[in-house]
């Protein structure tokens, strides 16, 4: 996981509510056993027609937004399944952050776990950003340390849990962090109730 400090890049506006994981990465692409390579299938059914031809109007198909690194969308982004393939596909497409008024819980955690920065702003702030993003030349800057989003004529702070921030800023392996508490886990297992079932 790459550490995140300041992200400066182009925004792609997608002002819809409840963008779900089936829309982000449809099931036919979940059969891969690899972790990378999901980017081309991102928002597949919005990006390609039934014949597999590119739909030119779709925001991410527009040449002007080809280099976008920050997705700006509506509330309850990432609702639906737990598939980590959803944030993987967004990351694989070159995005470094997603800004929305709210995220689905599992999706939000998945983003933190892979180092894709989820930023929660208010409805009004997101609406304003979305408008600013309509001009593809307007870049946005997200400063994780300062917890601040700035762009032309716009500045807003955002909240993030200190520990999630710490992990993102340092690109920390969560499993290694937990394994530092190996003794506590051993201890817990020793007092774990007898009647708890085990398959062994």
């Amino acid at each position: 996981m790459e550490p995140i400090s300041v992200i400066t890049g182009q925004m792609a506006p997608m002002p819809r509510a409840n963008v779900d994981t089936d829309a982000i990465i449809p099931k036919q692409f979940l059969k891969r056993v690899e972790r990378s390579g999901f980017g081309p299938f991102l928002f597949y059914e919005w990006a390609y027609d039934e014949e597999g031809e590119l739909i030119p109007d779709f925001i991410l198909n527009q040449a002007d937004y080809a280099a976008a690194e920050v997705l700006v969308s509506g509330p309850n982004f990432g609702s639906g399944s737990s598939r980590e393939h959803a944030p993987w596909s967004i990351e694989d497409r070159g995005f470094k952050a997603i800004i929305a008024p709210s995220f689905a819980d599992i999706f939000y955690n998945n983003c933190i776990n892979i180092g894709l920065l989820p930023v929660v702003l208010t409805d009004d702030e997101v609406a304003k950003l979305s408008e600013i993003a309509n001009d593809p030349d307007n870049l946005v800057t997200i400063d994780l340390e300062a917890q601040k989003v700035t762009t032309i004529g716009f500045e807003a702070g955002f909240a993030i849990e200190p520990f999630a921030k710490h992990r993102l800023a340092n690109g920390l392996d969560n499993i290694a962090l937990t394994l530092e508490h190996r003794e506590a886990i051993d201890g817990f297992e020793q007092m774990r109730a007898e009647h708890k079932p085990s398959l062994g």
């Binding site: 409840n18 099931k27 979940l30 059969k31 509330p75 955690n109 398959l199």
Partner: protein, 469 residues
Amino acid sequence: MTTPRTMYEKIWADHVVRDGGGTEPDLLYIDLHLVHEVTSPQAFESLDLTGRTVRRPDLTLATIDHGVPTTGRELGIQDPLSKKQIDTLVANCKKHGIELYDIHDIRQGIVHVIGPEQGITQPGMTIVCGDSHTSTHGAFGALAFGIGTSEVEHVLATQTLPQTRPKSMAVNVNGELPLGVTAKDVILGIISRIGVAGGTGYVIEYRGSTIEALSMAGRMTICNMSIEGGARAGMISPDEITFEYLKGRNYAPTGAEWDEAVEYWKSIRTDEGAEFDVEVHLEAADLAPYVSWGTNPAQTVAVTDAVPDPSEFEDALERDAAERALVYMDLEPGTPITEIPVDRIFLGSCTNGRIEDLRAAAAVVEGRTIASDIHAMVVPGSGLVKLQAEEEGLDLIFKNAGFEWRDAGCSMCLGMNPDILMPGERAASTSNRNFEGRQGRNGRTHLVSPEMAAAAAIAGRFVDVREWN
């Protein structure tokens, strides 16, 4: 006197390996980790790459459900990608000593059906799976939630998960359910009330006399769809119905251990006077058989209603979502639900693929035939559900009516296998998600109860089961 606590608080407290002290997440011990083929290969790969091992294979159970074909299994798996994914799980389980119910095992089935069926899902446990409908297991009074693949790897390696504590919500449903109104309708009613993000950041406990009167199957249907209301977990306090269900199952304790377990299970019920962060109240008498009309599970109305007019929605994003949904669903505002014809019927999934669901649907179907041009199928939730149904002759009832009788799996709930809707086809489905493209590109999904799906199969359109004889 100790402060009254909710079941969720008690289970959480009983599993804290390390207290994060408010600045870090708590480290929670995981009692059961369920694994399936789609969300695990990358976790196992990364585990191998970092030289880590599975800490507790004996607390890990795997099955194959999402990508399996539901017909012609003797021919093997035709889709090379699905085959590779399934072979990968088989190899990973073998390598790490994890028990797997493979495609030829009678116990194979949807991950959220087999845990309870085997009695491995028990009250007071923490249960995770790389699948959002893990909330189903909360019906037993367990804290059960879906996780992503990085977390799957984390649990494999450590049998723990760092978690920030969600808030608690009580959803109280009281009164006797009107005739024809099922557990599925209760949860659809709850979701249309709280909204698809209403439960975000919360663990829901379903309470009240309506919930207490439900069978375990009904309780599982309700907890299953907690995630459709945005909540990662939904739970119901364990009681005699729970214990009765568990007794004698494969992994249920026996003898003195059973008594000890029941004692503990009783102690985890929410205490009288415990406080929730939010409380919601519904009356069973106000509920009806529901049919979803849109592309999210809150876009639902009673079968006696009509497709709403987007202009009725005050919120701009909701209005926009409704407009978009009606275009996708090819529906006109004002159309009575009972005038919507259907092409396909899907009876199954972890929401409604248990024996009780099949019995309820069979009772509607018995002695009738499905409408011409309808393609209907029944996909039992597990091999054992299928076997049980065949012993009861339900398969014949369905087959005589014109339904296809399939093998167990997720099937058309998400269409990762060949069971998908064709573009433009409209389905009455007992599953849990009606998202765009969920059951097949440009396929149109209406979420309903098993009884409503069965009646729609016979009539060729939605009908009110309450007027069905």
